[in-house]
Symmetry: C2
Subunit: 222 residues, 2 copies
């Protein structure tokens, strides 16, 4: 029953919908990069205010997937694709939540003492943006190599996180009067790490879907 | 086709499987509580070593769900239940990952200077354990009131996290020579917060499944 023209139109619609929530989440990540750079509560406020849009898109994608499962009862690769979309959709919504968490932190930081210490998170944000974009490209193009590349980048994000830890810890020793600001600055690296984790989850889901192989838990691909 | 005896046996099997991974994850959370209390790398090592068991159980649950979807093509409430299990299964595996993250942190802390400062995380761990257990009870008993209670507890976990922040920040001012240890102690509160978030996700998924209502994004239940 699954292999009808109508069913394929539905699959295309789901692909478009997941790319659409993906694009909205990419915008948030880009904006959060600007907000971190400037420690500005204007873009932070916008991210918090607009989060309901992502939440609504998530619900629409999941409802559409459930509708297609119930109406067309797909099997094999098509079934796996729809289950992958449901899980990826969930990760995208949580990336949106993380952007909100960072935005709330920035709003607090904008009011805190910080002397002149800065840590430049822009390379970390750029990497996360790159990973997010590529993981979604990998999904719609069924590109396993691209998905594998995304997984590899996770280590580079961890390296920047460790660099942030070292530098901010040193700054804490020097400037114990702005500990509050520095702790928040440190915690931003942990939120960005979680963003990267979610993009890695998306890429792993794509690989799992394509290969039917479990790379999520350390098995090697053939 | 879905309402056969065989199908209902399959649903019971899936329920048993999700409870089984749930119980394994509960064990990890309990053990991580002990490891935090004693800053002992023995239980930490065990959690890291045994994580593959959770990973394997997650894969088995998902494969079983996909099998049942393909063979029995359930609709309506049964379809929603299986999709909920797939997502909850994913959250359980990530709780396991968080336990590993905390365990790795404890292994580092066991080697760091820390004077005599302690923060008692046991009430926070107990709350998370309670939330995890109740969210799974809510799933198998389709108990919406219990699921709602779990969601409410998330605020109490946040309160303890904020208390940890205040106390540890003060300790940092006093003892700048054990900043490394104190930063790790602070980050444990963030991991525990994430554990609580995952249990809240499970409870919200249960509510969503039962009510067909979207509480995940702030809508009120009737």
């Amino acid at each position: 029953m699954a292999a009808t023209k109508h069913f394929h139109r539905e699959l295309e619609k789901i692909k478009k919908m997941i790319l659409s929530i993906g694009a909205a989440v990419e915008d948030r990540v880009h904006l959060i990069g600007k907000a971190i750079e400037s420690v500005d509560d204007k873009p932070a406020e916008k991210i918090i205010h607009d989060d309901h849009e992502i939440d609504e898109m998530e619900v629409e994608v999941e409802e559409e997937c459930l509708k297609v499962l119930a109406l067309h009862q797909p099997v094999a690769a098509d079934l796996r694709f729809i289950i992958a979309v449901i899980k990826i959709n969930n990760d995208l919504e949580r990336i949106g939540d993380q952007a909100v968490n960072i935005a709330q932190r920035i709003k607090i930081m904008a009011k805190q003492d910080h002397h002149d210490f800065v840590f430049d998170y822009s390379p970390m944000v750029e990497k996360v943006e790159f990973m997010l974009k590529r993981s979604l490209d990998a999904l719609v193009n069924m590109d396993i190599d691209l998905a594998l590349k995304v997984c590899q980048l996770d280590d580079e994000v961890d390296d920047i996180k460790n660099e942030a830890y070292d530098q901010i810890k040193k700054a804490m020793k020097r400037s114990s009067d702005c500990l509050g600001y520095l702790i928040n600055l440190l915690l931003i690296s942990r939120h960005l790490e979680r963003l990267a984790d979610h993009t890695t989850n998306i890429a792993e889901e794509v690989i799992y879907m394509i290969e039917g192989e479990i790379v999520r838990h350390g098995k090697n691909l053939p």
